[in-house]
Amino acid sequence: MSMSADSPAKTQRIPSALIPILVVLILTIMALLIGAVAVAIAGKSPLLAIEELIRGAVGTRNNIAATLTRSIPIVICGLAATVGFKAGLFNLGLEGQMVVGALASAVTANALQGLPAIVLLPVTILAGCAAGALLALPAAWWQTRFNVPLIISTLLLNYIAVLFVSYLVNNPLRDLSGGAAVPQTVMIPEAIRFGVILSGTRLHAGIFALLILPPLLAWIFRRTRLGYQLRMTGLNPDFAAYGGISVQRMTLLAMAASGALAGLAGAVQVLGVDFRFIDNSLTAGGYAWTGFIAAILAQANPALVVVTGLFLAGLEVGAAGMQRNTQIPLQIADIVQAGIIFMIAVRQRVGQWLRHILLSEQRS
């Protein structure tokens, strides 16, 4: 394919700006095809699976609400990963940061429950953010100071954090009053719980974070000095350092912000869904990893993270519905998600190919 020889077409009916979007669409369809093959291997009908998947995700008012509710922690985690990506960092510790954030917010809400709700709510949220940031910071420091690869340290910290939090909720922080089989904390005060915004469903006020956070992040990245420095660090650390930017400071800042957002995702889940910290409820949900994939799929664009996060949440909720109705395992969603990342890796090739086809069609 000799792309370079193409002369720019004068009468482009399809603007080249559309090509990236077309590429993402094609890749997503190809990833879904991978899932369809996996369904076919299981001896089930892929068409039925897709029908059930779509019905499960958006078929009824309740299902739409479930998809939206699930997308909240996924998108916030996706934004957390995005902040890392912008600074050129792979924060694989989102899960641990989310879990410590959730526990910290539940504990804070219960410890300070005498406070008026207007004070207690922000304090609870901040506690979650602070805990997430505190877990992320050592990894950043180790990378800048000792050359410890962040990608490995953050991953190892996940296991340590999840085990530590599990110890706390199994022992000193366990709610022994209800006799529940699952280790969990006491419920947080009713006054600060997020209200349901769609009656009869569990869709809570946390959904507004999806409207507030992406523009805020986009503004920081594009319009502020700090955002510029972060992006420069991510694009070329050597050049950034040459320009007087402290790469160490940027790494610490980006990881703190990323960890804080992951902690926020945990706090929002406690405030809006569980109303307490429940052992394993966040890790079993897999929100942090799905958020990470949403960020990769969105190419670290905060506004797009909302779109990809919603799509992946729908895929997972739909897959759960599909499993109920067809006995096809819901892990098909994970296979499709991995397929999407593979497809992203080939996107440049597909882009070349698409441009080639479109341009040659227009010429003829």
């Binding site: 990608i151 991953l155 190892l156 340590i160 395992p329």
Partner: protein, 302 residues
């Protein structure tokens, strides 16, 4: 009760084998200049197909073979996207891990009809082999006898890997490709072929590592049972500077952490803290040794 005795060392030898085998696999890709975070996923696929192979054939050695074949296929998939498509090795590696976790859980439901974990007492694991003379030596006998073929095999592979890497033309090519692919290519070394072989060797070794986990240490498959061992093995590669003998030492250290973690259960320390031990030990090693990552992905070099 003494903590440190021959039984602990025997347990160390048993538990360090998966780390060692995966780390030797990671060594080959590291030497070819590929930063490989996919060890975890390759091992997990190996673990699953080892159990599935025993389930289908009733023969643990056929299970071992299937584990190696499946893990090698996954490794070649990783290789295709990194070497051919020139995708970011970290992102592709993470995709492999996510795929492995999803696929094995999916396949567990299809093949065994269960979720979470599959255990059947009639499943036959790899038999322990008793070494004729060594078993009668007091401490060494407890440590080094009555292990699966994979434990002995791992020690043999260390020696073979050493000879292969430093005393075989292909090892020279491999190291040349890792250090400077352009220069290696200009000397007539087929760079992509060398990289594919390194990835395939990595898959084979990760398949063995996964089998040691699922049909030797125990005979069962549990969702995500590798639990970070691939990353601990990656640290062993870096700590061992991608040298087989040094990797052996690094893996022994992490194996000791796993053995101590097992031993400390039930003496009053909360299980969560005991379970943290291997991860904490790995982090401490990373920080104390201030090792530099060998982060030269194929993409960056070409």
């Amino acid at each position: 009760m003494t903590i440190f005795d021959a039984a602990l060392l025997a347990s160390t030898v048993r538990l360090f084998t998966p780390i060692l085998l995966a780390a030797l696999g990671g060594m080959f890709t590291a030497r070819a200049g590929i930063f490989n975070v996919a060890l975890e996923g390759m091992m997990l696929v190996g673990s699953f197909f080892a159990v599935a192979g025993v389930f289908w054939t009733g023969n643990p050695y056929l299970g071992l073979l299937l584990a190696v074949a499946a893990a090698t296929l996954v490794a070649l998939l990783f290789g295709y996207f990194v070497i051919e498509i020139k995708g970011d090795a970290v992102i592709i590696g993470l995709a492999i891990n996510i795929f492995a976790l999803g696929f094995t859980t999916y396949a567990m439901r299809l093949v065994f009809g269960v979720t979470g974990g599959y255990y059947d007492p009639s499943l036959e694991g790899l038999p322990d082999i008793s070494l004729p003379i060594i078993r009668d030596i007091p401490v060494l006998g407890t440590m080094f006898s009555d292990h699966s073929i994979l434990v002995y095999g791992a020690f043999v592979i260390v020696v073979l890997a050493y000879l292969f890497l430093f005393h075989h033309p292909f090892g020279l090519h491999l190291r040349a490709v890792g250090e400077n692919p352009e220069a290696a290519g200009s000397l007539g070394i087929r760079v992509k072929r060398v990289q594919y072989v390194s990835v395939a060797l990595c898959g084979i070794l990760c398949g063995l590592a996964g089998a040691q986990l699922s049909i030797s240490l125990v005979t069962q498959f549990v969702e995500g049972m590798t639990a970070g061992r691939g990353f601990i093995a990656l640290v062993a590669v870096m700590f061992g500077q991608a040298h087989p003998i040094k990797i052996l030492g690094a893996s022994l250290l992490f194996g000791l952490a796993y053995a101590a973690s097992l031993r400390l259960q039930g003496i009053g320390i909360p299980t969560q803290f005991v379970a943290m031990l291997p991860y904490v030990a790995t982090l401490v090693v990373l920080i104390v040794t201030r090792i530099r990552p060998q982060r030269q992905s194929v993409k960056e070099q070409s």
